[in-house]
Protein backbone atom coordinates (compact mmCIF):
# COMPACT_ATOMS: atom_id res chain seq x y z
CA UNK A 1 0.00 0.00 0.00
CA UNK A 2 1.35 3.44 -0.84
CA UNK A 3 0.69 6.60 1.12
CA UNK A 4 -0.15 10.01 -0.25
CA UNK A 5 3.49 11.07 -0.39
CA UNK A 6 4.98 7.73 -1.35
CA UNK A 7 6.68 7.62 -4.69
CA UNK A 8 6.09 4.42 -6.60
CA UNK A 9 8.79 2.33 -8.23
CA UNK A 10 7.26 3.12 -11.61
CA UNK A 11 7.49 6.87 -10.98
CA UNK A 12 11.11 6.52 -9.88
CA UNK A 13 11.95 4.35 -12.87
CA UNK A 14 10.38 6.94 -15.18
CA UNK A 15 12.59 9.57 -13.55
CA UNK A 16 15.68 7.40 -14.12
CA UNK A 17 14.65 7.02 -17.74
CA UNK A 18 14.43 10.79 -18.14
CA UNK A 19 17.84 11.20 -16.51
CA UNK A 20 19.33 8.63 -18.91
CA UNK A 21 17.93 10.51 -21.88
CA UNK A 22 19.22 13.78 -20.43
CA UNK A 23 22.82 12.53 -20.05
CA UNK A 24 25.47 15.22 -20.58
CA UNK A 25 27.16 15.14 -23.96
CA UNK A 26 30.96 15.53 -24.03
CA UNK A 27 32.01 18.80 -25.63
CA UNK A 28 34.11 18.68 -28.82
CA UNK A 29 36.91 20.27 -26.76
CA UNK A 30 36.87 17.40 -24.26
CA UNK A 31 36.86 14.79 -27.04
CA UNK A 32 39.74 16.61 -28.73
CA UNK A 33 41.72 16.69 -25.46
CA UNK A 34 41.19 12.96 -24.91
CA UNK A 35 42.26 11.99 -28.45
CA UNK A 36 45.25 14.36 -28.22
CA UNK A 37 46.28 12.59 -25.02
CA UNK A 38 45.98 9.26 -26.83
CA UNK A 39 48.24 10.48 -29.64
CA UNK A 40 50.76 11.96 -27.20
CA UNK A 41 50.97 8.77 -25.10
CA UNK A 42 51.44 6.74 -28.29
CA UNK A 43 54.18 9.09 -29.55
CA UNK A 44 55.98 8.92 -26.19
CA UNK A 45 55.84 5.13 -26.32
CA UNK A 46 57.19 5.09 -29.88
CA UNK A 47 59.99 7.44 -28.81
CA UNK A 48 60.95 5.17 -25.91
CA UNK A 49 60.99 2.15 -28.22
CA UNK A 50 63.32 3.97 -30.61
CA UNK A 51 65.70 5.12 -27.88
CA UNK A 52 66.17 1.59 -26.54
CA UNK A 53 66.40 -0.56 -29.68
CA UNK A 54 66.68 -4.33 -29.46
CA UNK A 55 70.44 -5.02 -29.26
CA UNK A 56 72.08 -7.77 -31.28
CA UNK A 57 74.02 -10.69 -29.81
CA UNK A 58 77.28 -9.36 -31.34
CA UNK A 59 76.93 -5.93 -29.76
CA UNK A 60 76.10 -7.51 -26.38
CA UNK A 61 79.23 -9.76 -26.68
CA UNK A 62 81.35 -6.75 -27.63
CA UNK A 63 80.14 -4.94 -24.52
CA UNK A 64 81.00 -7.98 -22.40
CA UNK A 65 84.67 -7.91 -23.49
CA UNK A 66 85.04 -4.15 -23.32
CA UNK A 67 84.10 -2.86 -26.77
CA UNK A 68 85.86 -2.55 -30.15
CA UNK A 69 89.24 -1.46 -28.74
CA UNK A 70 89.43 -4.56 -26.55
CA UNK A 71 88.48 -6.70 -29.52
CA UNK A 72 91.40 -5.12 -31.50
CA UNK A 73 93.84 -6.00 -28.71
CA UNK A 74 92.49 -9.53 -28.55
CA UNK A 75 92.93 -10.02 -32.33
CA UNK A 76 96.49 -8.62 -32.24
CA UNK A 77 97.44 -10.96 -29.37
CA UNK A 78 95.94 -13.96 -31.18
CA UNK A 79 97.75 -13.09 -34.45
CA UNK A 80 101.06 -12.72 -32.60
CA UNK A 81 100.57 -16.12 -30.99
CA UNK A 82 99.89 -17.75 -34.35
CA UNK A 83 102.93 -16.04 -35.91
CA UNK A 84 105.20 -17.23 -33.06
CA UNK A 85 103.84 -20.73 -33.38
CA UNK A 86 104.48 -21.04 -37.09
CA UNK A 87 107.78 -19.16 -37.38
CA UNK A 88 111.28 -20.82 -37.50
CA UNK A 89 112.98 -20.01 -34.14
CA UNK A 90 116.09 -18.65 -35.96
CA UNK A 91 113.87 -16.07 -37.58
CA UNK A 92 112.72 -14.88 -34.22
CA UNK A 93 116.28 -14.25 -32.80
CA UNK A 94 119.60 -15.40 -34.40
CA UNK A 95 121.37 -15.65 -31.04
CA UNK A 96 118.47 -17.60 -29.49
CA UNK A 97 118.67 -19.97 -32.48
CA UNK A 98 122.38 -20.78 -31.95
CA UNK A 99 121.87 -21.39 -28.25
CA UNK A 100 119.12 -23.87 -28.99
CA UNK A 101 121.38 -25.66 -31.51
CA UNK A 102 124.16 -25.91 -28.88
CA UNK A 103 121.74 -27.39 -26.35
CA UNK A 104 120.51 -29.94 -28.90
CA UNK A 105 124.11 -31.09 -29.77
CA UNK A 106 125.26 -31.43 -26.16
CA UNK A 107 124.52 -34.71 -24.33
CA UNK A 108 123.95 -34.89 -20.56
CA UNK A 109 127.03 -37.21 -20.23
CA UNK A 110 129.31 -34.52 -21.67
CA UNK A 111 128.20 -31.97 -19.18
CA UNK A 112 130.74 -31.10 -16.54
CA UNK A 113 128.51 -30.53 -13.52
CA UNK A 114 131.54 -30.06 -11.36
CA UNK A 115 132.42 -26.87 -13.11
CA UNK A 116 128.95 -25.59 -12.49
CA UNK A 117 128.36 -26.85 -8.94
CA UNK A 118 131.24 -27.05 -6.36
CA UNK A 119 131.96 -30.62 -5.15
CA UNK A 120 131.07 -29.86 -1.54
CA UNK A 121 127.60 -28.88 -2.57
CA UNK A 122 127.03 -32.04 -4.59
CA UNK A 123 127.74 -34.53 -1.80
CA UNK A 124 126.70 -34.34 1.82
CA UNK A 125 126.21 -36.77 4.65
CA UNK A 126 123.04 -37.28 6.56
CA UNK A 127 122.89 -37.17 10.33
Amino acid sequence: MTGKHDITDDALNALFEEARADAPVPSPELLALVTQDAARVQAERDQRNRVIPQRSLISRLLDAIGGWSSLGGLVAAAATGVWIGFSNPTLISPSLGSEIETLESTSVDDTDFGSVFPADTLFFEEG
Binding site: I7, D9, L12, A19, L31, T35, A38, V41, R45
Partner: protein, 191 residues
Protein backbone atom coordinates in the same frame (compact mmCIF):
# COMPACT_ATOMS: atom_id res chain seq x y z
CA UNK B 1 47.85 1.34 -40.92
CA UNK B 2 44.81 2.82 -39.16
CA UNK B 3 41.42 1.25 -39.74
CA UNK B 4 38.59 3.44 -41.04
CA UNK B 5 36.45 4.86 -38.23
CA UNK B 6 33.22 3.24 -39.53
CA UNK B 7 34.90 -0.16 -39.60
CA UNK B 8 35.40 0.09 -35.86
CA UNK B 9 31.72 -0.15 -34.90
CA UNK B 10 31.77 -3.95 -35.00
CA UNK B 11 34.96 -4.29 -32.97
CA UNK B 12 34.89 -4.92 -29.21
CA UNK B 13 36.38 -2.43 -26.74
CA UNK B 14 38.98 -5.07 -25.92
CA UNK B 15 40.14 -5.34 -29.54
CA UNK B 16 40.11 -1.56 -29.99
CA UNK B 17 42.41 -1.14 -27.00
CA UNK B 18 44.83 -3.71 -28.45
CA UNK B 19 44.70 -1.94 -31.81
CA UNK B 20 45.49 1.36 -30.10
CA UNK B 21 48.41 -0.23 -28.23
CA UNK B 22 49.73 -1.38 -31.61
CA UNK B 23 49.69 2.16 -32.98
CA UNK B 24 46.19 2.57 -34.43
CA UNK B 25 45.00 6.10 -33.63
CA UNK B 26 41.54 5.60 -35.15
CA UNK B 27 40.98 2.94 -32.48
CA UNK B 28 41.61 5.60 -29.81
CA UNK B 29 39.04 7.92 -31.41
CA UNK B 30 36.50 5.11 -31.50
CA UNK B 31 37.08 4.16 -27.85
CA UNK B 32 36.76 7.81 -26.86
CA UNK B 33 33.41 8.08 -28.65
CA UNK B 34 32.15 4.97 -26.85
CA UNK B 35 33.43 5.59 -23.34
CA UNK B 36 33.62 9.36 -22.81
CA UNK B 37 29.82 10.01 -22.82
CA UNK B 38 29.16 7.21 -20.33
CA UNK B 39 32.00 8.27 -18.05
CA UNK B 40 30.88 11.89 -18.23
CA UNK B 41 27.29 10.98 -17.30
CA UNK B 42 28.48 8.88 -14.38
CA UNK B 43 31.01 11.43 -13.09
CA UNK B 44 28.56 14.32 -13.46
CA UNK B 45 25.96 12.53 -11.33
CA UNK B 46 28.54 11.75 -8.64
CA UNK B 47 30.24 15.14 -8.55
CA UNK B 48 27.45 17.49 -9.59
CA UNK B 49 30.11 19.68 -11.22
CA UNK B 50 30.50 19.72 -14.99
CA UNK B 51 34.12 20.95 -15.06
CA UNK B 52 35.28 18.43 -12.47
CA UNK B 53 33.42 15.65 -14.27
CA UNK B 54 35.21 16.53 -17.53
CA UNK B 55 38.57 16.43 -15.70
CA UNK B 56 37.71 12.97 -14.39
CA UNK B 57 36.85 11.75 -17.90
CA UNK B 58 40.11 13.09 -19.31
CA UNK B 59 42.17 11.58 -16.47
CA UNK B 60 40.41 8.21 -16.74
CA UNK B 61 41.00 8.05 -20.49
CA UNK B 62 44.64 9.11 -20.03
CA UNK B 63 45.15 6.21 -17.63
CA UNK B 64 43.51 3.92 -20.16
CA UNK B 65 45.95 5.01 -22.90
CA UNK B 66 48.92 4.46 -20.60
CA UNK B 67 47.69 1.06 -19.49
CA UNK B 68 46.88 -0.12 -23.05
CA UNK B 69 50.15 -2.06 -23.73
CA UNK B 70 49.61 -4.09 -20.54
CA UNK B 71 45.94 -4.85 -21.22
CA UNK B 72 45.16 -8.58 -21.27
CA UNK B 73 42.17 -9.13 -23.57
CA UNK B 74 39.38 -11.29 -22.26
CA UNK B 75 40.18 -10.85 -18.57
CA UNK B 76 37.92 -7.88 -17.87
CA UNK B 77 35.72 -5.40 -19.70
CA UNK B 78 37.37 -2.14 -20.68
CA UNK B 79 34.24 -0.21 -19.65
CA UNK B 80 34.27 -1.85 -16.19
CA UNK B 81 37.91 -0.87 -15.75
CA UNK B 82 37.16 2.70 -16.86
CA UNK B 83 34.10 3.09 -14.60
CA UNK B 84 36.15 1.82 -11.69
CA UNK B 85 38.93 4.35 -12.29
CA UNK B 86 36.37 7.15 -12.74
CA UNK B 87 34.62 6.13 -9.52
CA UNK B 88 37.91 6.26 -7.60
CA UNK B 89 38.80 9.65 -9.06
CA UNK B 90 35.35 10.99 -8.11
CA UNK B 91 35.72 9.60 -4.59
CA UNK B 92 39.10 11.34 -4.23
CA UNK B 93 37.61 14.63 -5.36
CA UNK B 94 34.64 14.31 -3.01
CA UNK B 95 37.01 13.56 -0.13
CA UNK B 96 39.06 16.66 -0.90
CA UNK B 97 35.90 18.69 -1.19
CA UNK B 98 34.75 17.59 2.25
CA UNK B 99 38.20 17.67 3.80
CA UNK B 100 37.58 14.43 5.71
CA UNK B 101 37.81 10.73 4.95
CA UNK B 102 34.72 9.03 3.61
CA UNK B 103 34.46 6.75 6.62
CA UNK B 104 34.58 9.75 8.93
CA UNK B 105 32.16 11.78 6.84
CA UNK B 106 28.77 12.04 8.48
CA UNK B 107 25.89 10.94 6.32
CA UNK B 108 23.64 13.81 5.37
CA UNK B 109 20.38 13.90 7.25
CA UNK B 110 17.13 13.95 5.38
CA UNK B 111 16.19 17.56 5.97
CA UNK B 112 14.32 18.01 2.72
CA UNK B 113 15.45 20.33 -0.07
CA UNK B 114 16.89 23.61 1.13
CA UNK B 115 15.62 26.90 -0.28
CA UNK B 116 18.68 27.01 -2.51
CA UNK B 117 18.12 23.44 -3.65
CA UNK B 118 14.47 24.20 -4.37
CA UNK B 119 15.53 27.12 -6.55
CA UNK B 120 18.09 24.99 -8.38
CA UNK B 121 15.81 22.00 -8.72
CA UNK B 122 13.57 23.55 -11.34
CA UNK B 123 12.56 20.37 -12.94
CA UNK B 124 12.39 16.67 -12.35
CA UNK B 125 15.93 15.85 -13.46
CA UNK B 126 17.40 18.53 -11.26
CA UNK B 127 15.31 17.21 -8.38
CA UNK B 128 16.64 13.71 -8.99
CA UNK B 129 20.20 15.05 -9.09
CA UNK B 130 19.63 16.89 -5.85
CA UNK B 131 18.17 13.76 -4.22
CA UNK B 132 21.12 11.69 -5.46
CA UNK B 133 23.52 14.12 -3.82
CA UNK B 134 21.82 13.43 -0.48
CA UNK B 135 22.68 9.71 -0.65
CA UNK B 136 25.81 8.20 0.93
CA UNK B 137 28.49 7.75 -1.73
CA UNK B 138 28.23 3.98 -2.12
CA UNK B 139 24.45 4.09 -2.47
CA UNK B 140 24.70 6.92 -4.97
CA UNK B 141 27.32 5.08 -7.04
CA UNK B 142 25.27 1.89 -7.07
CA UNK B 143 22.00 3.64 -7.99
CA UNK B 144 23.60 5.67 -10.79
CA UNK B 145 25.39 2.66 -12.26
CA UNK B 146 22.32 0.42 -12.04
CA UNK B 147 19.42 2.70 -12.85
CA UNK B 148 20.90 5.50 -14.94
CA UNK B 149 23.91 3.91 -16.66
CA UNK B 150 21.99 0.63 -16.95
CA UNK B 151 24.85 -1.67 -15.90
CA UNK B 152 24.20 -5.22 -14.69
CA UNK B 153 24.73 -6.04 -11.02
CA UNK B 154 27.78 -8.31 -11.60
CA UNK B 155 29.55 -5.51 -13.47
CA UNK B 156 28.66 -3.02 -10.71
CA UNK B 157 30.02 -5.45 -8.12
CA UNK B 158 33.37 -5.40 -9.96
CA UNK B 159 33.40 -1.63 -10.21
CA UNK B 160 32.55 -1.09 -6.54
CA UNK B 161 34.58 -4.12 -5.42
CA UNK B 162 31.71 -5.60 -3.42
CA UNK B 163 29.51 -8.70 -3.77
CA UNK B 164 26.49 -8.83 -6.07
CA UNK B 165 24.29 -9.19 -2.98
CA UNK B 166 25.78 -6.01 -1.54
CA UNK B 167 25.03 -4.23 -4.83
CA UNK B 168 21.41 -5.38 -4.66
CA UNK B 169 21.16 -4.17 -1.08
CA UNK B 170 22.74 -0.79 -1.89
CA UNK B 171 20.50 -0.13 -4.89
CA UNK B 172 17.36 -1.12 -2.98
CA UNK B 173 18.24 1.12 -0.04
CA UNK B 174 19.28 3.88 -2.42
CA UNK B 175 15.97 3.77 -4.25
CA UNK B 176 14.04 3.91 -0.99
CA UNK B 177 16.12 6.86 0.19
CA UNK B 178 15.59 8.65 -3.13
CA UNK B 179 11.85 8.14 -2.86
CA UNK B 180 11.91 9.56 0.66
CA UNK B 181 13.90 12.59 -0.41
CA UNK B 182 11.55 13.30 -3.29
CA UNK B 183 8.34 12.50 -1.40
CA UNK B 184 7.70 16.01 -0.12
CA UNK B 185 7.84 17.30 -3.69
CA UNK B 186 5.71 14.57 -5.22
CA UNK B 187 2.93 16.90 -6.40
CA UNK B 188 5.28 19.63 -7.57
CA UNK B 189 7.28 17.17 -9.65
CA UNK B 190 4.27 15.28 -10.95
CA UNK B 191 5.54 11.97 -9.60
Amino acid sequence: MDMAFDQMSEISDDALLVLYANGDRAAAASLTTRLAPRLLGFSSRLLHDAAEAEDVVQETMLRLWRMAPDWRPGEAKVSTWAFRVAKNLCTDRLRKRRGVGLDEAPELEDEGPSVEARLIAKDRIAALDWALMQLPDRQKQAVVLRHIEGLANPEISEILDISVEAVESLTARGKRALANHLASRKEELGL
